[in-house]
Symmetry: C2
Subunit: 336 residues, 2 copies
């Protein structure tokens, strides 16, 4: 039996972070340095605020600013085997507050890489990146040969973090992996400052019998992944042995391509026709400019080869939200 290992999760109080930590706790193991599954001895949950409801003895909650070197050095201790770096300032906020985005999305990523490099033990480091690294004059289907041309500061910061991670991996400082995430939908909770916040809101708010505004036209096409499948993919990509990845460390995770009109139609079909009436269509040029610069689909062949699976279709995404996050379940939707 391999020795217990320590996993660090940044942005651990966010909704994906909490869900990832719960998944890791439930599994009890994670891919270790030698490739085999190793028991998780400790999970450092690092964020600017403490999460609630994590009383497992393996949990080590650490609160601090990720752009503060001392905070990062404390979190990335000598026994760190793996890091999931989820902390980020979201797209809309990074566009509005340039300094904050640079600090969290770029400086923190670099501090984290430096702390990992300082260990000398070549820890496994997973960065989450985004559709937002793409933009400009895009082909119908983005693939690994599509150049990055971000049209937002968030996308630029993610692209830069990817480049840094890639070079740290090339030099053997870390065992780096980048998971490029589609837009995550349906996020639970309240709207956030992401330009794509509506991609969850137009489903979540109706299901909670609250009004939602859709700021882009019905024909706007998005590339979506449920939180449930996102977590599965992150853990699976983490666990793939370095040799199986080779030098290509950036993996575009699978998504569902659908336009927002069809999203609302799917909601009506899954949950009941009355739910569509909660959506009001009101264009917002600032949001539209960012979100519509992102790819509507990308080639998933590499993800598929690596055994990473997304959602079957958007109905499955709506059902995943209903099952995982909605209380109470609407009568028409059931749990099927």
């Amino acid at each position: 039996m391999p020795a217990p290992i320590t996993v660090v999760v940044t942005g651990a109080s966010g909704f994906l972070g909490q869900r990832l930590v719960r998944a890791l706790l439930a599994r009890g193991t994670v891919g270790g340095p030698d490739g085999a599954q190793a028991p998780i001895g400790r999970i450092v949950m690092l964020d600017v605020s403490a999460p609630a409801g994590f009383d497992d003895p393996r949990i080590d909650i650490q609160v601090g600013d990720l752009a503060d070197e001392a905070v990062v050095r404390r979190a990335i201790a000598h026994d760190t085997a793996s890091v999931f770096h989820l902390a980020a300032v979201v797209s809309g906020q990074a566009e509005a507050d340039f300094e904050l985005g640079m600090r969290v999305n770029l400086d923190a990523a670099r501090l984290l890489l430096e702390a990992c490099r300082a260990l000398g033990s070549v820890p496994r480091v997973m960065f989450t990146s985004s559709v937002a690294v793409y933009g400009g004059d895009l082909p119908a289907l983005v693939d690994d040969r599509t150049p990055l041309d971000p049209q937002s500061s968030y996308g630029m910061q993610k692209a830069v973090a990817e480049m840094l991670l890639n070079d740290y991996a090339r030099k053997g400082f870390v065992d780096g992996r980048v998971a490029r995430l589609p837009t995550i939908s349906v996020r639970p909770g309240r709207p956030n400052a992401a330009a794509s916040s509506f991609a969850s809101g137009i489903i979540r708010e109706p299901l909670n019998r609250e009004p939602a505004v859709c700021p882009v036209p019905p024909e706007s096409r998005l590339w979506l992944l449920s939180p449930r499948k996102a977590i599965e993919c992150l853990v699976a990509l983490h666990d793939i042995p370095a040799a199986a990845l080779g030098r290509a460390r950036k993996v575009n995770l699978p998504g569902v391509s659908i336009n927002v009109g069809e999203m609302v139609q799917t909601l009506a079909r899954v949950a009941g026709p009355e739910y569509a009436d909660y959506v009001r269509w009101e264009r917002n040029p600032a949001i539209e400019r960012i979100v519509c610069s992102w790819p509507a689909a990308w080639d998933v062949s590499r993800a598929t080869e690596l055994g990473l699976a997304g959602d079957a279709d958007f109905a499955a995404i709506v059902r995943a939200y209903i099952e995982d996050d909605l209380h109470p379940t609407p009568a028409a939707a059931g749990r099927a």
Copy 2:
């Protein structure tokens, strides 16, 4: 007549920097904020050491570390209209000393962008980038749709600086331009720590009747630009009005594609057959790995559309070195 403007040149004590400053002094004008040529009132020459031989009253020599914010803020004063950012740690050195490369090639670029942004006057900022931003699985002809996949820390740092500049330009913080330079050949002076140093050495050393080592096989293909044409292109790209560039701010400068065996044959043809005997062939895997990851040619149609011209052929490059830098001129070469 427009008011005199201030131009800042970083890396101004380097050979390209000095040559650029002399070219600007000789011209006396440069493209001003309103598009028209404006007289140059002051040229700040910023570098870690002072250049010799610049006694023109327009010259303001400033010595300091470009990764020191105070140095950068002093150089980028309220009247700065244009910045040519040439300072860099070269490829071989950035690969060997990761921290130094990060500090000069990345941190300094960012400090400079921040200082320009703080002016609020949207100065024109020219970054020099490199063939080294490309790498990996390259097409025969690199073009604007080829993704960046640097295989060296130098290339990564240049790619990151490009991304930063691009976003600062998109946000209207600076009027940014990136000139991606082919390998510069023939550089005068002594060998340096660039992995591509030999691309000058195998011509320069023989012409100075000194031995040279070529660390890559004769069939290795390079993409070359003379210092003379590089300076012409930098000034010309600087002077193009922002509206004529649009959003595509990265321009691949024209080059000559030739293998190193043909380079030495050209030397023999231009200067005399005896000069080829000074070259010894001795492979160096570390240099070969970096240099042979670079593109051997790229599409020059955008540069051509913008009126940027390179060298006619490699014989022209050899002759440019003989005319501009070699003393004394070898008898066989003349000045034709």
